[in-house]
């Protein structure tokens, strides 16, 4: 185990949220790999029943049990758990009442279906409860079982309600077992052991949702984490070239010469090709300009930011390790 400083030392529950399409599950998986690097043990949890972890790691669907799914760079293990609310409820019955078998019998009657689907917030409490239990769990020597837990959480629009559900339940159930259970959850979720990270793209809507999400977290008294800017393109052109291109000024005479030199086209063909390519450059420059603006907007939120490269071949296992490496280099893990 190495002992370098990271931005989130002391955080043991990393909640990862983001607008749909920003690559939330990918970043959660890469973060889990990064946290496990160098001999640690990390649990990656998903709660929405989409089997996103299995897809990313190219595995068959995960059952409701913690199993090792990947080895991190330099040793270290990533375990995964796909939380199923009904199973989480059986755990809960077992934990508090030692009545798993009776619970199984009642499943047939649909009671559990009733309670998990229906009772407001109860489902979320069970899911967050299962996650925080893993955060708190100790082995028989009193050591923490997991060095960190990464939760692939619901999207930005729902995150505060999801984590704060304990509050909603508390409003509903003033006493009783749910109340106690949700108090336990709240003890972890609102502590400095937790950080809620946002995944965004350098686009207007995801950035706006990130800022809104941060505000909501702050209001609810939940601990904000970092902002992971996903799918960042490497700069291809010097800034002055882009500045000119945004205004529609681009040296296509030089481009024609270059295309001819490369043997791609000659004469009027080269000119036509240069024109079409110039269109691409101008579009690229406009987009880069928008991205710069969005980056400035994010800076105003004054949260630590991390940039993850766009993977040329899409997300595969090798790509995940690349992202994990990038997360480590930037000090997020």
């Amino acid at each position: 185990m190495d002992s370098r400083d990271t931005d989130w030392d002391g955080v043991r529950l990393h909640v990862v949220t983001g607008k749909g399409g920003t690559g939330k599950t990918t970043v959660a998986a890469a973060l889990a790999l990064a946290l496990a690097a160098g001999g640690r043990k990390v649990l990656l949890v998903e709660v929405e029943g989409r089997q996103g972890i299995a897809q990313i790691f190219d595995l068959p669907p995960l059952p409701y049990e913690e199993r090792r799914i990947a080895v991190a760079p330099g040793g270290g293990d990533v375990y995964a758990l796909a939380v199923d609310p009904e199973e989480a409820m059986l755990d809960y019955l077992e934990m508090f009442y030692g009545m798993r078998r009776a619970g199984r019998a009642l499943t047939k009657l649909g009671v559990l279906d009733f309670a998990t689907t229906i009772a407001p917030g109860f489902r979320d409490v069970l899911v967050t409860g299962k996650t925080t239990e893993a955060v708190r769990r100790r082995d028989k020597n009193g050591e923490r079982v997991y060095d960190a837990v990464v939760l692939d959480a619901p999207p930005t629009g729902r995150i505060t309600r999801f984590l704060n559900v304990t509050e909603e339940v508390a409003g509903l159930a003033k006493v009783g077992p749910i109340k106690n259970h949700s108090d336990l959850v709240r003890g972890v979720v609102k502590s400095p052991e937790t950080a809620v990270h946002f995944v965004t793209l350098l686009e207007e809507m995801p950035v706006q949702e990130t800022l809104d999400g941060l505000d909501e977290l702050r209001e609810a008294g939940l601990p904000p984490g970092g902002v992971f800017i996903n799918m960042v393109r490497e700069p291809l052109f010097p800034q002055p070239v882009l500045d000119q291109a945004v205004k529609g000024r681009f040296d296509s005479a030089e481009l024609v010469a270059g295309l001819e030199a490369a043997g791609l086209a000659t004469g009027s063909d080269a000119k036509a090709l240069a024109e079409a390519l110039t269109e691409e450059v101008v579009e690229h420059a406009r987009r880069t300009e928008t991205e710069r603006e969005e980056r400035r907007t994010l800076d105003a939120a004054a949260r630590p930011t991390y940039e993850l490269p766009l993977l040329a071949d899409g997300v595969d296992l090798a790509g995940l390790y690349e992202l994990a490496e990038s997360i480590r280099t930037q000090g997020a893990a």
Binding site: G20, G21, E48, R50, M89, Y92, L93, F96, Y97, A102, G110, V111, F114, A115, T117, I118, A119, P120, G121, F122, R123, P154, P155, G157, R161, V165, E168, G171, L172, A173, K174, V175, G176, P177, I178, K179, E203, M205, Q208, R233, L236, F237, D251, E254, A257, G258, A261, A262, L264, L273, A276, L277, E279, E280, V281, E283, H284, R286, T290, A312
Partner: protein, 375 residues
């Protein structure tokens, strides 16, 4: 890329038999934008259209001039042809409240509205939003004020949620357990025991353990009040289901040319077929096409490398690398769409090119509408 059938958007919008268009698909694929653009185009073409949107992005709402969340349709534009566009944002709690207020006497309505269980259910129960969107759709349709309703489905983890959630909520409010819970209150606590024998004691005991006695009591009060006001939540859900199955409805599945979104679109197409719901086609948003597609990615990459090795025309080499990336992206997007076309060769598809900026105003929406129709 394989050639799918083209989706003729204008034919759908111009057909006066089309009364409802449902835009569905996974989160983040541009459903709301598509719905708004369709509404505007329909209005331009003389339809009296209303767009029902659920939780839209702030900017998009502003683009349509929607600033208030007041649960009633507001006029956005009006054309000389008689076409007009209205739009509204769904306020699910208000919609729920209105159902209660419309069906209960004031005293009972007050009882229900102030019940803590109701407050939770109406504002946070997963599925309420979907249910209320469908409820509102039914209301708009019954009012017959518009000849075309375009509805944008709630942002949920999966596109299928919106089909299942209303049924789930309906089943809950109308279900066996609710009956079980309310039965003792109605029949002096005897009948349930006769019916369920030891079973009920076990069930009630278990629920009390799980949820606590106060929750059960609130729930019982709530349910019996609600039950007296109107049974048949499930019936309402079923009516909406039938409405969606009727020939006047057209489902548009919206996707982006990415693996997850296309896979979700595939599931949804299959599910619609299973439910016998009329699918009009697939809209693929944010498709990247190169204006210089004659130059392949491979040739472009090789030429860039060559120029770099020779140490000349640095700028051209950079342009060629940019182009290579674009062509690779386009190729990947084609592959994702090919999978879909192979599995569903008869589903018409419309592609909308990616724009460099988000939509900010009606002109932006109009442009998207044009692109949709041209596809």
């Amino acid at each position: 890329m394989k050639k799918p059938a083209g989706l003729d958007i204008d034919a759908i919008l111009d057909d006066s038999g089309t009364r409802i268009i449902v835009c569905c698909g996974s989160g983040g694929v541009g459903k709301t934008t598509t719905a708004a653009a369709l509404g505007l185009r329909a209005a331009e073409r003389g339809r009296s259209a209303v767009v029902l949107t659920v939780d839209p992005a702030r900017r998009l709402a502003q683009a349509m001039g929607l600033t208030e969340l007041d649960n009633t349709p507001r006029r956005i534009v009006e054309y000389e042809s008689g076409g007009e566009l209205h739009a509204m944002m769904l306020d699910m709690k208000r919609t729920f409240d209105e159902i209660i207020e419309a069906h209960a006497d004031p005293e009972r309505a007050r009882q229900i509205l102030s019940n803590p269980f109701y407050q939770s259910l109406s504002s946070s129960f997963a599925g309420t939003q979907e249910y209320m969107a469908m409820e509102k759709l039914g209301q708009l349709r019954r009012s017959d004020e518009w000849d075309l309703i375009i509805v944008d489905t709630p942002p949920s983890r999966s596109a299928l949620d919106f089909l299942d959630a209303p049924e789930r909520l309906g089943r809950f409010l109308d279900g066996r357990f609710i009956r079980l819970l309310t039965a003792p209150a109605k029949a002096g606590g005897r009948s349930a025991f006769r019916l369920f024998n030891a079973g009920f004691g076990l069930v009630a005991g278990m629920l009390t353990k799980l949820l606590g006695a106060q929750v059960i009591k609130d729930l019982q009060t709530f349910v019996s009040a609600l039950d007296a006001v109107f049974g048949g939540f499930r019936q309402r859900a079923e009516r909406t289901y039938q409405l969606l199955q009727s020939p006047g409805t057209a489902f548009l599945v919206v996707a982006a040319p990415e693996r997850d979104a296309m896979r979700e679109a595939s599931y949804f197409v299959e599910r619609l077929a299973e439910e016998r719901m009329p699918l009009a086609g697939l809209v693929v948003n944010r498709v990247h096409e190169s204006p210089a597609a004659t130059l392949s990615g491979v040739r472009s990459a090789a030429a860039a490398e060559d120029l770099q090795a020779r140490g000349e025309h640095e700028l051209t080499a950079a342009v060629l690398r940019l182009h290579t990336g674009k062509m690779q992206l386009a190729a990947r997007e084609h592959r994702e769409q090919d999978h879909f076309v192979t599995a569903h060769p008869t589903v018409p598809i419309a592609q909308v090119p990616a724009m460099s900026e988000d939509v900010h105003d009606l002109d932006g929406l109009r442009r998207i509408g044009e692109l949709l129709a041209k596809a």
